[in-house]
Symmetry: C2
Subunit: 221 residues, 2 copies
């Protein structure tokens, strides 16, 4: 029953995603859709990314959560525009929600929009929001076997971030096995081991994102 219904829902989602994509292309704004489990460090990485890029780029954040606005509050405290979407139970964001959030942003004065999706390694995978890239975070405490168990999200991500590497000594995390599994599922994914807390490794990630922002701006000029 669900399977049959999935296609029309995805078709509608994809059409609105394409409208979002065209709107962003016209403005030269790079849009990143960030996926991860609850507690993997999405908001912390966004805050670290803002610190690394805010002197060069104008940034806004769209926060997706089942409930609450605690993440949007943290972003606003950093002096960055943030739109909170509460999905009210839905396990992922959809392109229609993003379209409404974009209406609330000052698109003439932005280079980068980061979308923090609902904490979930499964549902957001299938939904195009009109982004330029999906990136995903796995955190060390979650374990190195997650690519085997949640292959879809590793396959759609252009960048795979391994967060909380400052805690590697406390967990039985086999970094070699993890890298090998990711490479098998998605040979084109770029891997960034980092700690959003200590900022170790954040520069390499910020450089990758910065290069993608520049490419997008150059397409528009």
């Amino acid at each position: 029953m669900e399977v049959k219904l999935k296609k029309p829902i995805l078709d509608l989602n994809n059409r609105l995603a394409q409208e979002n994509r065209e709107l962003m292309a016209a403005r030269g704004i790079f849009v990143l859709d960030l996926l991860a489990s609850p507690g993997a460090g999405k908001t912390s990485l966004i805050l670290a990314t803002i610190e690394a890029l805010r002197s060069n780029y104008r940034i806004a954040v769209i926060e997706g959560d089942i409930a609450s606005d605690v993440d949007a509050v943290k972003i606003k405290e950093a002096g960055i525009p943030a739109i909170q979407i509460n999905t009210g139970g839905a396990c992922h964001l959809e392109s229609a929600m993003i379209a409404r959030a974009l209406e609330a942003l000052d698109l003439d004065n932005l280079d980068l929009i980061i979308i923090e999706n609902v904490g979930n390694l499964v549902c957001p995978t299938d939904f195009d929001l009109g982004e330029d890239a999906k990136a995903m975070i796995l955190s060390v405490p979650e374990g190195h076997d997650k690519p085997l168990k949640y292959p879809g999200v590793f396959q759609v991500a252009q960048a795979v971030i391994l967060n909380k590497v400052d805690t590697l000594a406390s967990f039985n995390f086999d970094e070699g096995a993890f890298k090998e599994s990711v490479a098998q599922l998605n040979p084109h994914a770029v891997l960034f081991p980092l700690s959003a807390l200590t900022h170790e490794g954040v520069v390499a990630w910020a450089q990758w994102l910065s290069q993608r922002i520049e490419e997008k701006k150059s397409c528009n000029s």
Copy 2:
């Protein structure tokens, strides 16, 4: 669109869940549905629970995963029957999947079935599988703010397990704030801080589960 469709899907699921429940009631088997994010420690806690209870009870495990059989292999290595369900993309288990798994188990020789749901704090919340209780795990690295962001799962859980307490010193986890949020969302939930790795706190959890198994058996005698 999704909202309208949700009701008939849930009605069908609830009907089959009731059939599972009646089948288990007739046998006096206690069924636990265990929910958590990927990497919160579901399989590790199941293994620790098996060690604590195997001398008194006959146990089987139903493993739900998007893909792979790594969890079922771990359970079988412990000498316990395990049925792997691969949902092939679906973000939760449904009662029809459980009905098929039950057919593969030797129900005349079981006291406890633990269902490890797909790693996801959102989707499994709404689905009755015919279980006697849902329990959920939050792990310390995920952060104390998760009840605010994923209230539903904390509301349906009879037991809330805080796992990886051996790593409390490495993370900014406010245990008091966590307990307060859980108590507000679900005053009847029993909270078990423990470490499936060091086994600290596992006895209290196993005692609670043991008591529930005895209650179920006594209803049937």
